[in-house]
Symmetry: C2
Amino acid sequence: MTGRTKYVLDETELPARWYNLVADLPAPPPPPLHPATRQPVGPEDLAPLFPAGLIEQEVSGERYVDIPEEVLEVYRLWRPTPLYRAHRLERALGTPAHIYYKYEGVSPVGSHKPNTAVPQAYYNAREGVRKLTTETGAGQWGSALAFACATFGLECEVWQVRASYDQKPYRKIMMETFGATVHPSPSEETAAGRAVLAADPASPGSLGIAISEAVEKAAADPDTRYALGSVLNHVLLHQTVIGEEALKQCALAGETPDVLIGCTGGGSNFGGLAFPFLREKLAGRMSPEIRAVEPAACPTLTRGRYAYDFGDTAGLTPLLKMHTLGHDFVPDPIHAGGLRYHGMAPLISHVHELGLMDAVAIGQRECFAAGVAFARSEGIIPAPEPTHAVAECIREALRCKETGEEKVILTALCGHAHLDLPAYAAYLSGAMEDHELPEAALTEALAGVPRP
Amino acid sequence: MTGRTKYVLDETELPARWYNLVADLPAPPPPPLHPATRQPVGPEDLAPLFPAGLIEQEVSGERYVDIPEEVLEVYRLWRPTPLYRAHRLERALGTPAHIYYKYEGVSPVGSHKPNTAVPQAYYNAREGVRKLTTETGAGQWGSALAFACATFGLECEVWQVRASYDQKPYRKIMMETFGATVHPSPSEETAAGRAVLAADPASPGSLGIAISEAVEKAAADPDTRYALGSVLNHVLLHQTVIGEEALKQCALAGETPDVLIGCTGGGSNFGGLAFPFLREKLAGRMSPEIRAVEPAACPTLTRGRYAYDFGDTAGLTPLLKMHTLGHDFVPDPIHAGGLRYHGMAPLISHVHELGLMDAVAIGQRECFAAGVAFARSEGIIPAPEPTHAVAECIREALRCKETGEEKVILTALCGHAHLDLPAYAAYLSGAMEDHELPEAALTEALAGVPRP
């Protein structure tokens, strides 16, 4: 033993405020544009879908936003989350590096998603909304919102991509246990769904179609709103509790990270850990490298274009300035469902453009090998998404082994794999493929995206 | 908010010793007997199956056993576990009672089982054992042992009851991710398995058959030993870390439990929480009622006979003095697989006989209704086994609502349901049955058990 295994905080040390990175950036991020007018969208454009409390956060330039007591009360069910020193993994790798991971899998649904689902449900309930709709792929986000709605007495209606609905029934059961209604998408419940089914009764669905269904249903009922689990500013704002706690825990451990590593799909887990550390970096109090890891099958930051594009496949959302592979790009069916998004949070895209972070892409076999090594040393089986972060941690730790550097590496372990275990079975059977995005497919996908 | 939501301990407060209740009981428990001689079995009878370090604990009368540093290092991956005050459930019930739950689902495999799997793997590894074999039903124990073997570099071979192997593939994948080999039982790997398959090629298996296979394989190889996940004294000893931590956490909360409630299958989770509190009760420092909850389909303590019986179906084990429904009793297929055991830990049976605890049996529909209520208020979806404890907590809390008593209720929430979600689907669909054991079936099952 060289020091402690985990750093736990008492619930009295739960952050009282969310941190808004926008306040500290050298330049503001480009605003979302209305697709028809190409003018910045205003709060009134968003009102049919989101409550005023969240719209205010979406456009806020204030550095801090107080977390309501009603939200803190629910956060306390699992927060603060532990920060671990990966002693046993370090030993297995023979590295002089110090590896720390902030573990969000202790939440009721096993991921970081409730950090934003809970305040989203709260602000909607406070404004008299009766029901929330949303889409979900593998189901992490849908189950988080179902849990959050249960805690604030809201109804919850989820459109789950048909392929996942059929292949991953456990997530649907979890959502139903929390009281949500779950439809496979495309469904007969909406005009959008019926149109797709008319054209292809056996459609496996897509996130784009599911978004269209959830948005259509929310817009049609004045008591219903829509909720999104990543990408938007207010979502990343809520996730900063991760990084704020990690800062306190690093101080407890007496360490300052040299490298921060997180996986990116829409970007909320990565931003949640990284933004408070970026504040410290911008203020000159520390200087960690900050690195996003994305799947080689969906390399948004490393190979996408930084341009205005739609957030969804059907083109219903405002135009967002972001790294994108094209809004009709459909990534190969890798197991990290949460990372299969064509775009990147505008705020993270902007941070990348400002040169404040870098990114790497890794194939899924290396990621699952890392996940298995992590499980056998640390006990926790990482969800497919954070295996990407673990794989890059291992790369960094092995570089340190070569150079002899005692770097401090901090990573976000954003969830466990209990409901994704078939992905590990695929890896262990040897049947898994890497799915690196071919150059020709990338060129085709980007053809419809305007150059900046 | 009335007080804190959870009480966390720093890892420096992890118990340094396991507690052996035998040292404090007014009379020693009756010893296991050799079935041929009906004389007490000695350590030498157990040596082919267990390492000396565990046999020593099995027969020990010492009050405390130091926990080896190698075991503590692994415990620190998830221990100390949190103690929660169920504020939101109390509010939903409208009860003046204070409900606390000690949550063991934060372990790598989601239950209390690693508390004993880790020391069992350690003592075997220390004595040069190369491989452990075991049986598992739904897979909680098998996955705990697979994890523990991974941490100490042991091979692990698990025989999983065929019906569960086919119906609950996620647990098998978890075991394989930790590096274990998993066979469906009956298997072609052993003479016992081949004999069953010869008679019935489509046999769904049973825990009794799986034990026979695991024991046969261990006994045939001098480098292999067998591991059991409940029932025996050393298993209950290891689980006392639960109660020792809970005692400290109750002190932090400034509360003394009036009622302790835990579910019982083999008894290790219940004993783990209750024994340290029983020590305090025997010493006159507190006086909680201590109550076991068992399934109405397998009512060992409430309707079984206290007599010498075999621990397994095939009659390979020593005779144990315990509450039993008969060693060839096969409980109905309720979802709480961990509670479907015909007997009860001899130490718990003895404590019950001494009048130091009571027991109730509850049908599974009431248990799952309690599980859903718990999930929707507290966020955690309880495994099917602890829904029994939750159901009795709710009964007690509602009695307090009638009487106005502010009782302090403490329960053991020994695991989550992530890998058992199909049980909740069955409940929510309305298809679940209670399976109360009919009187005629009980009479038949007890016919072969000698009267005491």
